[in-house]
Symmetry: C2
Subunit: 526 residues, 2 copies
């Protein structure tokens, strides 16, 4: 009796030594399919190490990371103003240096002085668990300007990137295994991963690829009814706008319909709005759900969580981990519980908090940094728009590939029709066909993209997600290499199959699962 | 059927609208007694706001935050070297400025150049989820120097402060409600809070106040046997060394015994070693559990997680959120699961990662910053030692108060014998007696301390935890005000009672609970 297997029930035995092994850890962790370290990304990391050390033999000289929205690793320069203010918050004694005005513009110095004075203890002290008051005030003021409706600093919770906000909501709303959330398919795999981790269920709703990844509220109603028939209790609906991986931007009317749906069904609306600054088409505009809810008079009736982040937009400060959530329509005693959850991790990092406040309150016309700030911002967004159009155009010229316009966000999510032989080859390997495509793409070109199965997709369709973040210098190479590979792939496996099932029409899902079917690989970033 | 109560079981009804309220959220969140926003801290925040706005009438002019290990909010200056390197990592273009050598020492510039080159994409890019390779290499090299045993960068996971490491272990090891961890009483309430949150059970072991908060391994054996009799499956034991809130520093032999206990009982050892730089007595020395395990040849046999942080020591960079865990003796496939958990939040913030690498690799003799660094470090640690001795000495001179020496960490945890009338008065308010003491202390003096009941304590004993972080200028005032208050409190409620039960001797706990009995209030920081 010196050792025993992990017991599955309490039985009062006096000897229960459970050695640590993969068989004795929490199964929800094992089942959580974030798959950041999925085989393709792992293989790419190995290749990158080999190339760095001059080892191995590959038909390319560098790995191109299109799997992840991580712009600064691909050479995007940070916004100078943000970094200058942050440097002076790090090192306030620089403000006393006689050379300081030769190194930093006037408004940078003034902003750093204000923040250093207003943040108790500065960057090195724990702030309030919801974030420093001055930061929350700056964020709230900016939201009010954006929406034309008031925002209350007491509703703002600063977060280390947007991800902790999702954890808070999962922790708060999921009580038992039948509690569930509606999540778009395709989705950002943070949602499926955390639902599994927190022991909840994913109720999928399909975005309609044939309608530009449109969100059909009638379909939401069908899906919630189907989920309830299966005994599930739906607590929330996640909407990603602009979409990830799909890039679509919701219309104002569509948002009104979603809010009405949430009110009728008493759902929390989790609005992932981290791509709000990334809109590339003239006929679309970002509206926040908060603004639309305010216009409809629904702020008190629909519990709404709006997420934002410094990692995306034109800011791209991924490694700093900054963001916030604005929480409206929540009872005060429930908000107290969110604060308690936040306090268990003490506070979000101050560097991320400050950067978030700066993102929301950039230099204004007439200030010393304004011209440079505006030029840097326009250059990044203009270039993203050009790269998005270039990439999507090129994808649509490939045989058997179709790709909706990237209206927003940082990704293209093309549909690829794969030869039957490729589908069979993948099946024999126990893999998804789009996984096979992505792996061969990596091995042939060094380009890392993520199989659509990592995000979920309609049965019988295959996709991959690629960022359009490689620099303008590099993106031409990516497009060219991708095209050559695609042609060779079709040649290797025969022409694009015509016998594959057509994509499903939107209809009630036959089953709801903890993770989208076939999720096998994803990326490590929005 | 437009609304219904939250169902407790799946029953397949087709209408299950569950409105958001305190009654329909996860009970584990509600039950989680971190109580950071407990009434005393909340009251102190209100008073601080009033004082700032010139409102209210209080017999003091400022709130003195002794509830939390947050040194920079009390005026401790950051280490200059760390901040200078961080400023140049924020703003690498400063390195090209002709004035740069007038502003920064040579070694700061060299260190920033090295880090900017070695961290792919710099501070603004997601790193590997375990942390940037160069950072993990620097941390591992430093651990190897500390212990005289090798450390592997592949065993290092950088974290946003030490708290995420605790979350990872809870998530990994707690499978069902009978899974449990052994936690010292008194404890840092992060452990009880996260155990409740993750649905596990706390198996307490009492530190022996009469033996300088000693840890008796015989008592550990009694407690694990008692827990197993109750059907619990014990997965891990938490040891905080130096102790929080108790400040004791474990002996080498005691550590050997604990490791043997973990090996025999197949427990994961979670070693909270965040106060390793805070030792104030000449006859004690910090040894890491990793070093002792290596000496005993147990590295492969005892799964060990060692936590460290930049928030404590002489660094005090709480707001930056930086730390690491070193994981040894874990199967590789279990480590893969930790990495997956880390990857769901993408990566720890780079500013915290860099600061952690700097803390572990400070300037060396002969480098330009060395003298200043050494002077700043010695001044902080020397002052902490003087303040610890001053405070503990003063506490021991108070009637009915006894306090073990603060061998390490940042806190004193005096035992207070309270008048029977005070115990009865608290009882009538539905509060713990030490809560009443702490509230009256706040109202009389502005000093914020945390009731011992927030950390757990032997039945029939009362304590409070106070930091000795107020500056040397202020600590005299704190000691004086505390003494005056204590005398007045005894006078108000009559002399210190002699009828209170004596502290329990160490014995198997009658019950094991998800949180220590009487936990009602705590702080928001280690």
């Amino acid at each position: 009796m010196t050792s025993s297997e992990a017991p599955s029930t309490s039985n009062g035995t006096s000897e229960r030594r459970v050695p640590l092994s993969i068989d004795t850890i929490n199964k929800r962790v094992i089942n959580s399919e974030y798959a950041v370290r999925g085989e393709i990304v792992q293989l790419a990391q190995k290749i990158a190490r080999d190339l760095g050390e001059g080892k191995g033999s590959y038909p390319f000289d560098k790995v191109v990371w299109c799997n992840i929205g991580n712009p600064q690793i691909l050479g995007q320069k940070p916004i100078t103003y943000f970094r200058q203010v942050l440097a002076l918050c790090e090192c306030p004694q620089l403000l006393d240096n006689p050379h300081i005005r030769e190194l930093f513009p006037e408004d940078v110095i003034a902003r750093a002085q204000l923040l250093n004075k207003a943040i108790p203890g500065g960057l090195g002290a724990y702030s309030d668990s919801a974030g420093a008051l001055i930061i929350r005030q700056l964020v709230a003021a900016s939201i009010a300007r954006r929406d034309g409706h008031p925002a209350d600093p007491e509703n703002i919770y600063m977060t280390d990137g947007a991800s902790p906000a999702v954890h808070y909501m999962m922790d708060l709303l999921l009580r038992e295994p039948t509690d569930s959330m509606m999540v778009p398919i395709p989705q950002y795999p943070l949602y499926s991963a955390t639902l599994t981790l927190y022991g909840g269920r994913l109720v999928p709703y399909l975005l309609d690829e044939s309608a530009g990844w449109g969100l059909d509220v009638g379909h939401l109603r069908q899906q919630i009814a189907a989920a309830r028939t299966q005994g599930l209790c739906v607590r929330a609906v996640v909407v990603i706008n602009p979409g990830n991986p799909t890039g679509q931007c919701l219309s104002h009317q569509n948002m009104r319909d979603i809010l009405s749906f949430c009110r009728e069904e008493q759902l929390v609306l989790i609005a992932d709005e981290v791509y709000q600054a990334n809109i590339y088409v003239g006929n679309k505009e970002f509206f926040s759900f908060k603004k639309v809810a305010a216009e409809m008079g629904l702020l008190a009736e629909v519990p709404l969580v709006s997420l934002h982040s410094i990692s995306k937009g034109f800011v791209g400060e991924c490694g700093r981990r900054g963001g916030y959530m604005e929480v409206t329509g929540f009872p005060e005693d429930v908000k107290d519980q969110i604060l308690k959850l936040a306090s268990i991790n003490l506070c979000p990092n101050l560097s991320g908090q400050i950067c978030c406040a700066l993102m929301m309150n950039p230099p204004q016309a007439g200030e010393a940094s304004y011209d440079q700030y505006r030029a840097e911002k326009s250059a990044i967004l203009g270039s993203l728009k050009r790269r998005a159009e270039l990439l999507v155009g090129a994808l649509n010229r490939l045989e058997g590939v179709s790709c909706n316009a990237a209206e927003g966000a940082l990704y293209a999510f093309p549909k690829i029709t794969l030869p039957d032989a490729a589908v069979q080859a993948a099946k024999q390997m126990g893999k998804q066909p789009d996984w096979l495509y992505c792996r061969e793409l990596l091995e042939a070109t060094g380009i890392v993209v993520v199989p659509g199965s990592g995000f979920g997709q309609a049965d019988g369709t295959f996709h991959f997600r690629t960022t359009f973040l490689p620099s303008e210098e590099d993106i031409g190479h990516v497009v060219e290499a991708l095209g050559k590979f695609h042609t060779a792939f079709l040649k290797k496996y025969g022409d694009a199959g015509t016998t594959q099932p057509q994509p499903q029409k939107l209809q009630p899902a036959a089953a709801v699962a903890a993770a989208p079917a076939g999720a096998t690989d994803a990326d490590n970033g929005h």
